[in-house]
Amino acid sequence: MSMHKSAGDTGRMRLAPQPGEVIDRDHTISFGWNGSQYPAHPGDTIISALAAAGERVFSRSYKYHRPRGVLTASYLDPGCTVQVGDEPNVRGAHRLVEAGMDVRSQNTWPSLRFDVKAVNGLAGRFLSAGFYYKTFIKPERLWPAYEKVLRRFVHAGEVFPDTPRGYYDKRFAHPDVLVAGAGPAGMAAAVAAARAGAEVMLVEEEHHLGGHLRWGDKADLALLAELTGLVANTPGIEVLTDSVVIGRYDDNWVGVVQRNLPNVTERLIKARAKTLVVAPGLVERPYVFEGNDIPGVMLATAARRLINLYAVKPGQRAVVFTANTEGDAAVADLERVGVDVVRVEDARRGGRLIRAHGRTNLRAVEFACSSRVDCDLLVTATGWTAPTSLLNMSGHDAAYAPGAARFLPDQSRLPPGVLAAGGITGDGRSDQLVAHGDAVGQEAARRAGASGADTALLPALAVPEHPQLFRAHTHGMVDFSEDVSSKDLHAAVKEGYDSVELAKRYTTATMGAAQGKLETVNTVAIVAEASGRTVAATGSTTWRPPYAPVTLGALAGRSLEPVRHSPMQAWHDAHRAVPLVAGQWIRPEHYGDPDAEVRAVRSGVGIIDVTPIGKLDLRGPDVPKLLNLLYVNKWSKLDVGRVRYGVMCAEDGVVLDDGVTGRLGAEHYLMSTTSSGAATVWEWVENWLQTEHPDWQVHVTPVTTAYASINVAGPRSRELIGRLGTDIDLDPEAFPYLHVRTGTVLGVAGCVLWRIGFTGELSYELHVPAGHGLHVWERLLTDGADLGATAFGVEGQRILRLEKGHFIVGQDTDGLTQAYTAGLDWAVKLDKVDFAGKTELKWQRERANHPRLVGVQPVDVEVVPPEASQILLGGQIAGRITSSRMSPTLGRAICLAQVDPRLARPGTRLRVRLPDGTDIAAEVTEHQAHFDPEGARQRV
């Protein structure tokens, strides 16, 4: 590895070592740019390395495909967006070079140098602001073609479908003080707050701390070293570089995207900061004039960054148009490194810039009195914009100060938890900025409640005078990202879009990647001049989060979706169960042959895992009151050991849920709900108890997953349970249908055994303390092998219950299905004093014009009309098929349907419209049950 490289080894524009440079000259790496290899030093950005090699054109603009080069040499630089590998829209003047990078210009064809789409420039007249509101509209049938054409002109990179996923995650944080911006004021504020005992989070967008000190003079660099040391050595400061505060929400809920972690692409930090210190400094503003976007025209801060941070000569022969000390310092830096500064035009002494000449490269600059200077570099320093976004998001809109030519925040109008520090509030020498930051930091700690901080009187920074320079007498680019010129803004105002909000949306000025930081003030000033108002009167647009663009990856984080498994999941997986996603549950849909599973249940015995069924443990003397209130039927006289089926309706009479509730003890009940309704019913019950009847003594404990629930169904189910060994008397006399018992099964105490039926066969529902579930499940199958014991899944159960005509809430009922529609006439006890839904149900019964749920038999028994097939009457929709299957037990198609009351009589012929547009005939059956309508099989 060779020692100090001399200038020229990594490019003809590379300078000798500079005191504040951030590049590591001891190492050289290589990367690709549009297919050719270029050298770079660690610490170079993509753009600084290319600029060192003498490259000047890095992109083509959005609409007109004009060549673009360096403007700001910072994250915001609009002409430096490139594609890196499979990552589009990379900020080339911020992204550090890595060995082997494959960098390409975006959307240039066939090449960056000879972009055919630059022909746009000639058609400029027809591509003025809002052209897409006026063109590509008719004829509509050509929209797909227009879209193809417009796509070719979109200025953005490419995303590849098979791009490898980055690692994104999230974190919560609760800092006492969050400092946004680590320039001199921000660093001083962080140190002061930490010294006062606060936990501080310091967030800096750049790769290094220091802000503008980094490209400053010797004194600035010395101060930078001192502050950097203090930050590193003061305990309690968490430093995040290459990270950005993306927004401030109510009560200092702050989002930060962190990018400086070794194994994490981006981390989204959601922070609740007790105090927020906003110290973003100032953003230099471009000047609007003809030719202001030609490569070779750049801001003073850009020239100084290139020289001082990256040791890159920005040009050979320079002209400087300056209105402030930054421009003056740029002159000094340029001369120091041997750039021929042929003209300094001082705006403070009446200097006037007219236009720049050149196409892919700057050739000359024109001044007042038609004097023209040949040059390859024009540096402008015409003003500063305060990036007040976070303050606006805190509820404070800065006012325009004409004397300072910028918007200034008023510290006294900020909410108590938000403070502003440093250049954004005024200006001064570096030591003054540090003093300001120090005072603000102490105050921030005090407001955060950290101990040891004295009340600090916040000093104010002086606000220096600055000439108002926005636009020369010629027209130029205002928004470089969106290709919006001052001419476009004048045209928009003329067309009637004379408010800044309208002009912004019509022209899209400020809506590009920089989100207004480079454009807003110029836009406001030009709209003001075009509409004959002052800047202050014109106002500004609204700054909204995010402050900087956020990737979807950062917002998504780790893709962790909660998933719920029953204790028997391992068995289902091992036996090739087809998984059914039911909310967060994964359930077995079937094990390969649902029809065979149905036959096994009807002929022998089957077992199904129904653990997701909602189960609520209800205790207390007032449980019957609760049941009477929430179910439509009566519950006052339920003996211990008995079970009743119940239906719950909402207050509009719509069926909410159904299930069975059993009485386990004097003041102990167990309520079951549908699996998808488990959470809803729990909330429903708690809502009524807590808000309407806090006086009732009822305790509700969800035990849905405390039990593994197994439904054992089929003519031989009693036999099988008996084989397991239980102290519960299974004799049908002792344990009739719709009863419940508790006891020990297979040596497991605390089991609940219900005799209920959904499948229509003799069946028991066994609830086992969940930890024992798998063991009991496996034993049922091994002990019942000779009985034909078979596992069956949700699909098999659906077929079985449809054969029996049992409705499923949410399947055969919908958001409008009131109880009488579902055929629950027998259950609704209107003579109860009160219950949820009673008023509506009374009225439903009186009106009697509601749809009916009926059993339906297709005339062609082989055809199963898909669920939701419409039923037609006289050309109108008069119902739909709600459930349908081919029944393995009966060998024919069976259905449930909701129909218009005129069609509800058994024997009525129905016309069913299939999804393919054909119609079939079907008949309303006598019962909803197609099989064993008397229910004889389950009462044995």
């Binding site: 919560f172 959601k270 962790l560 404990t701 405390a706 397991l724 497991v748 969940a770 930890g771």
Partner: protein, 214 residues
């Protein structure tokens, strides 16, 4: 044809080998010396008590809402919610603890329910200095000592699952007990391991917690 051997009880969290048994529960015998560990403690007895939030039963239990206190009977009594407690005890002690609680509340004249949720909750312990940093990735509650000191109990969202969190430092090492309804247990375990990967988290096998020692 049925045998009378007791059925083995299992946690919803897949056991890290080697698997052994403890009082009828399948537990992990793995041992880790990593700085940050995650342990499945699901087999511990967990009894839920509901009673008035400010009455005699609350005094008898000795723990207010939001706190967790290890008592002299080898139990950790957690004030999980207003009028809601969870009592943690050793594996297999369900009947004993129920009896103790029945005795404690007898004659106090308040409306009380006692429900055994040993099988209904998945319970894990997160131990190590970086525990709070891990939790901060999946839980939005402020875990600083000033906000959540040792003995704090709260209920919040952890990795998008409703979870009870109890800070119960073991021998001076930062430790959090987390429990959720059983069926989400495996998911919560995996989510915590995912969040802890950057800290070098490892799975440690079952160990009887300190508060169980009598």
């Amino acid at each position: 044809m049925s045998d009378t051997a007791a059925a083995i009880a299992r946690s919803p969290i897949t056991v890290a080998p080697p698997a052994t048994q403890l009082h009828g529960w399948e537990v992990s015998g793995q041992r880790s010396t990593a700085d940050l560990t995650l342990t499945d403690l699901t087999p511990l007895t967990k009894i839920a008590v509901r009673a008035p939030y400010d009455g005699a039963v609350r005094d008898a239990l000795g723990t207010p809402f939001g706190r967790a206190v290890a008592d002299a009977m080898g139990r950790l009594v957690i004030g999980s919610g207003p009028g809601e407690w969870l009592v943690l005890a050793g594996v297999g002690d369900g009947t004993t603890v129920q009896g103790q609680l029945d005795q404690a509340i007898a004659g106090l004249g308040e409306f009380v329910s006692i429900v055994d949720l040993t099988h209904g909750r998945a319970l894990v312990a997160l131990t190590g200095t970086r525990s709070a940093d891990l939790l901060a990735k999946v839980c939005g509650i402020d875990l600083a000592d000033t906000a959540a000191p040792d003995g704090t109990a709260f209920r919040s969202s952890v990795a998008r699952v409703v979870t009870d969190v109890v800070r119960h430092d073991t021998e001076g090492t930062l430790t959090y007990l987390l429990h959720c309804e059983r069926s989400s247990g495996q998911y919560l375990f995996e989510a915590l391991l995912d969040a802890g990967a950057e800290f070098g988290i490892e799975v440690d096998g079952f160990t009887v917690p300190g508060f169980c020692a009598t």
